[in-house]
Amino acid sequence: MPEFDNAFQAALNLILGLDSTLVGILALSLQVSLAAVAVGALIGLPLGAALALWRFPGRGAVVVMLNALMGLPPVVAGLAVYLLLSRAGPLGQFGLLFTPGAMVVAQVLLILPIIAALTRQQVEELHAEYREQLQSLGLSRLRRIPTLLWDARFGLMTVILAGFGRASAEVGAVMIVGGNIEGVTRVMTTAIVLETSKGNLPLALGLGLVLLALVTLINGAAYLVGETARRRLG
């Protein structure tokens, strides 16, 4: 298929050319998604763990809601953040709209449920094993959270990577709250959409391949770190 060949060609040219515009777009993509994952993990991991530990009336509903929010459409998340940050909105005065900051906020909204829901499930399973021992040690639920997150870390790594994948891949949210402004809020996915709408399909695919290559690099680094740590544990 000539298009796919062209796409690989385009990707190669893009990488070899190391066009400064492309580098800027790539860097922004990475910054936004990594920031979103960092915030998402910082909130989502303890949140998911807490939900695994506490029993309370309505817990089932919360779990269902969280699972369902894994299906929050990026466009909807983007719209909600747009309305919040828009000049007429409640947080309008901060002038965050159409800035990378706004894109991070929208992506956090998207990946928080993914990280929290998958964390809940994994921590719940580990806690089934640890519960009696930790309770015997007199650990309050709150203090069990770091222990469980730490001991589940190899599994949670994949969860965080799923969140990162979601953030780096989505376009609906960043498009609306970022506005795809050239040089300011244009990221890889919005650039791909733009090229697609221009009919530049090989270039669009090529950009996609470049993005995937970058994401793969990051995944590879995470894998190496994980495997090294795991090997030390036998």
Binding site: Y82, R87, N180, I181, S197, K198, G199
Partner: protein, 254 residues
């Protein structure tokens, strides 16, 4: 009663305005042919047609359409209708374009005031028209006041509304657009703002598998009296958005 369907590649501005929703039922009624509209960016519409994924094409980029036919992808092109571009901006009108005499002055004033302006920046028919006007006004656009969004018309309007920026848009999208916030129509009516839509038939030589018979009926219907009337009858809030201007028996490469 349906005898089949055709796929029509078109742009978001026509789709967003609601035109197709108004005229296609009449066509289907008359011919039993269903029309499936794929509304995308102008470039993407050409690309879809070029690849043989659509039976017909309706866009507003006369130059591009001509090239499409000249390159052999299209067999026939015809004017169908026109509307116009308008310039909208914040009610406060910081560059004072409402008082401008012609469109050149509009763009010159915005450039001089360095007032925020959002451009589609997506190489669409609208975007190209806008760029020609900047050039004509002798303004060199530059960030940060000039924002290239790389978005469709609707998305660009949403962004402009939130940024209180001027924006160059086709009238149809603007009239149908609901999230105006502080935006208002500030300038219209210059001849240079003319926006021609054309229907293009795909070359049967290039893509013999397409439904050329049905597509021909669509093309002819658009140019026919019935089609032209349907276009003229389409109103939003009482206002006419598209003005039929088919010239019977004028076709092929212009």
């Amino acid at each position: 009663q349906s005898i089949g369907h055709i796929t029509l590649a078109s742009t978001t501005s026509t789709e967003n305005s609601g035109l197709f929703g108004a005229i296609i039922p009449a066509f289907t009624e008359a011919t039993g042919i269903e029309v499936r509209v794929v509304a995308v960016g102008t470039g993407q519409a050409f690309e879809i047609a070029r690849r043989g994924d659509a039976d017909s094409l309706l866009v507003h980029d006369t130059e591009g359409e001509a090239r499409f036919v000249a390159e052999g992808h299209g067999s026939e092109r015809a004017d169908v209708m026109y509307n116009d571009f308008v310039i909208v901006g914040p009610v406060g009108d910081p560059a004072g374009i409402a008082e401008a005499d012609d469109v050149n002055e509009v763009f010159a004033r915005i450039g001089a005031a360095e007032a925020p302006f959002t451009s589609r920046g997506d190489d669409s028919g609208t975007h190209r028209a806008e760029q020609r006007l900047w050039e004509a006004a002798g303004v060199v656009t530059a960030s940060p006041w000039y924002r290239e969004l790389g978005s469709g018309m609707g998305a660009t309007l949403n962004t402009a509304a939130a940024m209180d920026a001027y924006v160059f848009t086709d009238r149809a999208t603007w009239v149908a657009f609901r999230n105006r916030q502080d935006l208002t129509l500030l300038f219209e009516g210059d001849e240079a703002l003319f926006n021609q839509y054309g229907s293009v038939r795909i070359s049967p030589d290039r893509h013999p598998h397409l439904k050329h018979d049905l597509a021909a009926q669509w093309h002819e219907w658009l140019l026919s009296e019935a089609g032209q009337r349907a276009i003229a009858d389409f109103r939003v809030n009482g206002g006419q958005l598209f003005f039929p201007n088919s010239q019977p028996n004028v076709d092929d490469a212009p």
